[in-house]
């Protein structure tokens, strides 16, 4: 009898031939999962050694303790035997091992159930991503259309939602956001003023810091900063709330009760952001100017009265209302993006996180795109 002993990380595996056509796998010692498993290649090597065996069997006389490590190894042997059409005699194995193998084999693999990882070329991936993006834009526009119809139903008094929900969302996206909006927009005013002051001081034109900060905040930065803060704060919250409701079938419950989730859940959120972001924008404008005034007073020694007078000269009402109009549009974009991502959420807790992330990304991207479009339109109109 030929014996080829192999050193193993766990139990001991050795090979022998009971006759020319039967390969005996000798299992000895303790087979524990935590000590690692022997490589199946060892068995494959034996099967390819001439004379090639026509059947497999085991010798478990020396087998000590075992756990699922041994079973995993044996299932590997089972798979090899199936592939090579080799009969296996399991009878020398302990009864417990045989029964567990039978259990693992009891339900045959479902056809088509296995997901095979396939190699995708860069071009294919790029094409797939482009199609997905185009589909995403289409879904966003379709959802925006549905929200518009819901608004039309609201206008004729047919939309159904709870006024208390609207009030709660309004509070959440206005008063509760004051702290973060205050901090961020004040600092934006400080940064704009500081960067401007460094350059303008060289030309003795420090006073124009007030123009720079005032115009930047009123035209774009106030609305933009308010929108970005709300996208990160409220847009993500909308997606997470609606995503969780989808996971727990709360949205289905509304639908099957004959209540439109779009009216009941989306309308108050869009309405709240549409109404509140313009107010936050005005607040952000003021805080930005305050930040600029702070830098001018401490660094450039420009008095508050002078700074505000210069700001008043530089800023027009058109700029202020233009900024407020932009903010209202940004509010709709952020709310629609948040709600859409929430509605598209999958049915797992990780999908809720993904939905929140996607809501922020979608919201900010579309706000920036809208900002670019506004810049072009306002330029053409000479505003």
């Amino acid at each position: 009898m030929q014996a080829l002993k192999q050193s193993q990380p766990s139990g001991e595996l050795s090979f022998a031939r009971s006759d020319a056509s039967t390969l005996v796998l000798r299992l000895a010692g303790d087979w524990h999962l935590r000590h690692g498993l022997p490589e199946p290649e060892l068995v494959l090597k034996q099967l390819d050694t001439a004379p090639k065996p026509a059947r497999l069997t085991f010798d478990a006389a020396g087998l000590g303790d075992w756990d699922s490590g041994l079973l995993t190894f044996l299932m590997g042997i089972n798979e090899i035997s199936h592939k090579r059409n080799l009969p296996v005699d399991w009878s020398p194995l302990p009864e417990g091992v045989r029964r567990l193998i039978q259990l693992a084999e009891a339900v045959p693999e479902k056809t088509g159930a296995r997901h095979e990882a396939s190699q995708v070329s860069f071009i294919e991936e790029l094409g797939h991503a482009t199609l997905l993006y185009a589909q995403g834009v289409g879904e966003f526009l379709r959802f925006l259309g549905e929200v518009t119809i819901a608004f039309a139903r609201l206008a004729v008094g047919k939309a159904r939602f709870r006024r208390i929900d609207l009030m709660i969302v309004i509070q959440d996206c206005s008063a509760n956001a004051f702290g973060i909006v205050t901090l961020v927009t004040f600092l934006v005013g400080v940064i704009l003023a500081f960067e401007g002051a460094v350059q303008l001081q060289q030309f003795g034109a420090s006073i124009f810091v007030a123009d720079l900060v005032g115009i930047a905040m009123m035209r774009d930065m106030g609305a933009m900063m308010a929108a970005i803060i709300m996208a990160g704060r409220t847009g993500a919250a909308f997606a997470a709330q609606l995503g969780s409701m989808k996971v727990t079938q709360e949205i289905d419950a509304l639908t099957t009760m004959g209540i439109s989730p779009l009216e009941f859940l989306v309308l108050p959120r869009v309405l709240a952001l549409f109404l509140m972001i313009p107010l936050l924008c005005v607040y952000a404008d003021c805080l930005g100017v305050a930040g600029g005034a702070f830098v001018s007073a401490t660094m450039l020694h420009i008095s508050l009265r002078t700074y505000l007078t210069e700001t008043q000269h530089a800023v027009t009402l058109t700029m202020i209302f233009g900024g407020i109009f932009k903010a209202a549009v940004y509010g709709i974009i952020i709310a629609v993006a948040g709600c859409l991502r929430g509605f598209q959420c999958g049915n797992s807790s990780s999908a809720v996180g993904d939905a929140a992330t996607a809501a922020v990304v979608t919201g900010i991207v579309y706000v920036i795109v809208a900002c670019g479009i506004f810049a072009f339109i306002f330029n053409v109109l000479g505003i």
Binding site: Q249, T256, S260
Partner: protein, 282 residues
């Protein structure tokens, strides 16, 4: 006797007829040639069945056979690849969204996890459909909500939020919400899932009471054998392998007479049980 206690309003504020499914009319639910598919993958095909007035109709089958998916098709949450679902004379599959919404107000649905709206108290959950679709005053809504909660054994829990009560209680509160408008058709998705045997038994009793006293027609998705034999008087068996319905009828008759080994294996827990559950309510 099928009666609707609360007159339901349509979306334009007009009251709609109180009974959509009169007993002398067509069967309340007819599913014709339904095919369920995800993209090109056909999950189930050629599904045909009729649910009669006062039936407790069981949709049964193994895990992953498409029971809950069939329920979602029946409720319009998923569009069928082929076929139609009729409620009485109303073609639900081909109806406009607003017509569907009005039809859905005649249904009550109990979801697997209760699906209570987490931002509302139990009374608000039950009261929402009452506020939306009836002309009741706030005080009346509170009274009706308290009654419905009392019917499911949740008296005194009106002001609790779903997160403050146990899973079984959430399920019962979900049932209270489902019966808020005294619906003529009730759908239950795995009502016994996650419940202890006693709670499960109490829920079965409640389902029978609803059928007997409110005259509701009830569709139950379940694979709990005890419930199937205790409450069901009609059923279909979905088979994942052949992807269609392989048996129909009273579950007790199927156990006694159906020769299909898949049905027998299922109904006898793989051959372990020779008889249906002893708690047979008939």
């Amino acid at each position: 006797m099928a009666t609707t206690l609360l007159p339901i309003s349509s979306s334009d504020g007009k009251r709609v007829s109180v009974t959509r499914f009169p007993k002398d009319g067509p069967p309340p639910i007819i599913v014709r040639n339904l095919t369920m598919a995800y993209g090109t993958f056909v999950l189930m095909k050629d599904i045909n069945f009729t649910v009669n007035h006062g039936d407790i109709f069981i949709i049964m089958g193994g895990s992953g056979s498409g029971k809950s998916t069939l329920l979602r098709h029946m409720l319009g949450l998923i569009e069928p690849a082929k076929g139609e679902v009729w409620y009485g004379n109303f073609n639900f599959t081909r109806a406009e969204p607003l017509q569907r919404e009005e039809m859905l107000r005649h249904f009550g649905v109990l979801y697997q996890g209760g699906a209570l709206w987490s931002s509302m108290t139990l009374a608000e959950n039950v009261g929402l459909p009452l506020g939306e679709f009836t002309d009741l005053s706030l005080a009346e809504i509170r009274e009706v909500a308290a009654l419905k909660l009392a019917l499911v054994g949740l008296k005194g829990f009106e002001n609790y939020y779903p997160s403050q009560i146990s899973g079984g209680m959430q399920k019962r509160a979900g049932l209270a919400r489902a019966i808020a408008l005294d619906p003529e058709i009730l759908f239950f998705d795995e009502p016994s899932a996650g419940l202890d045997p006693i709670s499960s038994r109490l829920l079965d009793d409640l389902i029978l009471e609803l059928r007997d006293n409110l005259g509701a027609t009830i569709v139950v998705v379940t694979h709990e054998l005890a419930s199937i034999f205790a409450i069901g008087n009609n059923s279909i068996f979905l088979d994942a392998e052949s992807r269609t319905v392989i048996a129909q009828g009273d579950p007790k008759d199927l156990l006694a007479h159906c020769t299909d080994h898949r049905v027998q294996t299922f109904l006898t827990r793989g051959g372990q049980d020779a008889q249906p559950s002893a708690r047979n309510h008939g």
